[in-house]
C-alpha cells in the first residue's frame, strides 16, 4: 500500500494544532458559567440552578414534627435576609447588596439558639480563624483553662463557667475588672441582673447565645445526696404551708387569687377520708381528664402526642403501658434530669389516681386499670 506522505503530514499538523488550542479552549469552557452569570446569557439555566440550590437548602429544614415543637423557632424566623431583619433599612439599595446570613453561615456547625451557629465549635474545628490582634497577624490568643462552679438553689443544675472557651475569643481585660471583679464573692450575680444586661448579660443575648439556653451554663447536675436534701426540705416546707393556713389572711392586692391559692394548698393537704366513696371508672376518667388538661397537656399534648425530642408522648408510652407502680412512682417523684417534675406536692392522691387511670386508658392506651387512692398512698411512702 502506498502511504500518502502529505496526508500523514496534515494529520500530524492537525494533532499539534489541537494540542496547542486545548488549554485556551478548556479555559473558555470553564469560564462560560461566570460569563453567563455576568451577562445574564442564560437566565433560565441560572434560575434553575438557584431553584436546585433552594431545594437542597429546603431539605435541611426540620421536619414538620419538629416545627410544631414550641421550643424551636421555625426555620423561616431566624437569620433573616438584611432587607427583612428589622434592623436594616429595606428601601436602601445597599441593604440588598449585603450577603444574607443564612448563605454566609451555611457551612458552619449548627447550634439551636441565637444565630444558629456554634461558634465555639467553628473555632475549634479551624473553620474560622479570627485574628488575635488587629495589627499583628502572628499574635495568638492566650487561652486559660479554669472552671468556676456556682451553686444555685433548688434542683436546678449548678452553673459551670469555663474560662477556656471564653479566652479563645476574649482577653482578660475584656471582662476584668469592669464586668467581673476577679475575686471570690466580689460579684453579686443573679439571673435578674443578667437579664438586665449586667455580668454575663453584657454579651449573652446580644453577641453570644441567649440566656434561654439554660443547660449550656447550668450544666452540672445536683448529686443524689443534694437532691435528697432538697426533697427533705420541700416536705418540711409543707409544714410551714400548714402554718401559713393557720395565720390570719394578709391584706393583699389580690385577695381572691391568694384565697384560691390557700384553698388549693388546703385541698392538697387534706388526708383522704376512709369513708370516701370509691369512684367508678367513668368518674375516674372524667376527673383524670380534667387533671390531665390542667396539668399535663402543656407538655404531653392535648392528645397525648407529646413533642418530639422534648416531651415524650403518653400514647403508647412504655411507662404508661408498663407496671402501675413505676408509672405512679414517676408521677409522684418526677424524673431526674428531665422536665418531668414531681407532682406529689401539687396534686392530692385522688387526683393522681384519676390522672394515672386516665393516661392508662386514653389516647389509644387500653390497659383497663383502675388506680385507687389507697395505691397512691401506699406507693408514696
Amino acid at each position: 500500500m502506498n502511504e500518502n506522505p502529505y496526508a500523514r503530514e496534515r494529520c500530524q499538523q492537525g494533532w499539534r494544532t489541537g494540542r496547542r488550542l486545548a488549554l485556551p479552549l478548556l479555559a473558555l469552557v470553564i469560564s462560560l458559567p461566570y460569563l453567563a452569570n455576568a451577562f445574564d446569557l442564560f437566565p433560565h439555566a441560572v434560575a434553575q440552578s438557584k431553584t436546585i440550590k433552594k431545594d437542597s437548602a429546603n431539605k435541611r429544614r426540620p421536619s414538620s414534627a419538629n416545627r410544631f415543637n414550641r421550643l424551636f423557632r421555625g426555620h423561616a424566623n431566624f437569620n433573616l435576609p438584611p432587607a427583612k431583619d428589622g434592623i436594616h433599612d429595606p428601601i436602601i439599595a445597599g441593604t440588598l447588596a449585603l450577603q444574607a446570613p443564612k448563605e454566609a453561615f451555611a457551612e458552619l456547625p449548627k447550634s439551636r439558639s441565637g444565630n444558629r451557629v456554634d461558634w465555639v465549635k467553628a473555632l475549634e474545628m479551624g473553620i474560622i480563624e479570627p485574628r488575635a490582634d488587629r495589627l499583628d497577624a502572628e499574635e495568638k490568643m492566650q487561652e486559660f483553662d479554669m472552671n468556676i462552679v456556682r451553686e444555685v438553689k433548688g434542683s436546678m443544675p449548678d452553673v459551670v463557667y469555663p474560662h477556656k472557651q471564653h479566652t479563645q475569643w476574649l482577653d482578660c481585660r475584656n471582662c476584668h475588672p469592669k464586668i467581673f471583679i476577679p475575686k471570690k464573692g466580689g460579684n453579686n450575680i443573679s439571673m435578674a441582673a443578667i437579664l438586665m444586661g449586667q455580668y454575663c448579660g453584657v454579651c449573652h443575648g446580644k453577641v453570644a447565645f441567649p440566656v434561654s439556653e439554660c443547660r449550656r451554663c447550668h450544666s452540672k447536675p445536683k448529686s443524689p445526696k443534694q437532691l435528697a436534701e432538697i426533697r427533705k426540705q420541700r416536705s418540711a416546707r409543707r409544714l410551714s404551708t400548714a402554718e401559713l393556713l393557720a395565720a390570719p389572711m394578709p391584706a393583699s392586692k389580690k385577695p381572691t387569687v391568694l384565697k384560691a391559692a390557700l384553698k388549693a394548698v388546703q385541698k392538697k393537704n387534706e388526708p383522704p377520708k376512709s369513708r370516701m366513696r370509691q369512684m367508678s371508672m367513668k368518674e375516674l376518667m372524667a376527673k383524670g381528664k380534667e387533671v390531665y388538661d390542667e396539668n399535663c397537656s402543656a407538655c404531653h399534648g392535648e392528645k397525648g402526642q407529646g413533642i418530639p425530642k422534648a416531651f415524650p408522648p403518653i400514647a403508647g408510652s412504655k411507662i404508661v403501658l408498663g407496671p402501675v407502680s413505676e408509672h405512679v412512682r414517676i408521677v409522684l417523684n418526677g424524673k431526674t434530669d428531665t422536665a418531668m417534675q414531681a407532682w406529689k406536692d401539687e396534686l392530692n392522691w385522688a387526683e393522681i389516681a384519676a390522672v394515672i387511670t386516665f393516661q392508662r386508658n386514653a389516647f389509644g392506651n387500653k390497659k383497663g386499670d383502675m388506680v385507687r387512692t389507697a395505691q397512691i398512698r401506699r406507693l408514696s411512702r
Binding site: A93, F144, E151, H176, K184, S190, L195, E294, A298
Partner: protein
Amino acid sequence: MRIFRGILIIFVGIMFIGSDVLSAKKRMPVTEISVKQKANVVIKLLTKSVIVKSIKNSSNNEAKATLKKARSLLGEANADLGAGNFAKADKTLNRSINLITMTARQVVTKEDRRSRMKKRYTARRDAVRAILQAYDRVAKEKGLTTGQEIRDEVVQNLNKGEELFRQNKLTEAIEVTNGTYLLATQITRKLRQGDVLVRRLSFKNKEEEYVYEIDRNDSHFLFLKMALKRKAPHPMYLKKIEKLRDLAQALREDAETKAGKNRHEEAISVLGDGTKHLIRAIRMAGIFIPG
C-alpha cells in the same frame, strides 16, 4: 497561532476578573432610586454629621477647604441627578464621601488623641492591678514560695508606667503597661491553670437567704415575660400561664408582707412556692428550665 492562543488566554483572564466586577455591580445597581438615597445620605454627612462639626470647630484650614470641595461635588452630583445622568452622579457622590472620610482623620485633635490614650492607659493599668491582686490572693492560698521576683518586676513596671503617665509620656506609659499586663496575666494563668473553683451557696442568716429568694423570684418573673414575648404561646396555654403568674404574684406579696414582719423563714418558703409556679408557667410557655 501563538498570538491567537495568547489573546484567547488574556481574554478569558479578563473575563474571570471582569465577571466579579460585573456581578458586584449587578448586586448594587445604579438606579435613580439608589442614587437619590445615596445623595440624601451625603447631604446629612456634609451638613449635620459629627465630622462636619469637628471640622468647623478645628483650626485645620486644609480640612475646611476639603469640606468645601466635598460640598461642591455634592452640588455637581445633584445637577447630574437632575439631568438623569445617574452613573456620573453616583461616581461624584462616591468621590465626595471618600474626601470627607479621609479628612475626618486629619481633624482628630491632639486633645481627642490624648483623651483616648489616657483612657487606654487607665483601662490597662486597672486590669493589671486587678490581676495582680488576684495573683497575690491565689499565691497566698496555695502557699507559693517562688515567683516573687517576677511579681516584683510587675509591680516595678506598673510604677514605671504610672510615673511616665504623670510625666505626660502617654505612648511610653501604654507600651510599658502593655508589657506589664502580659507578664501579670502570664504568671496568674500559670498559677490557676486547670483549677476548678467552687462557689458554695451559703447564707449567714435567713434575711440573706430571703434576699437571694427575692432575686430568684424576680429572675423568674423576668424570664416569664421574655418567654411570653419570644414564644407567643397558644391562647389555651396563655390562660393557664396567666393564672400561674397571678398566683405567683399573690404569693410574692404575701412573702414581702411576712418579711416586713421579720418572718423570713416563712417568707422564703412562700417565695419558693411562687417560683415553682413561675417555672411551670415558663415551661408551659415553651422554654425548658432544667431541674
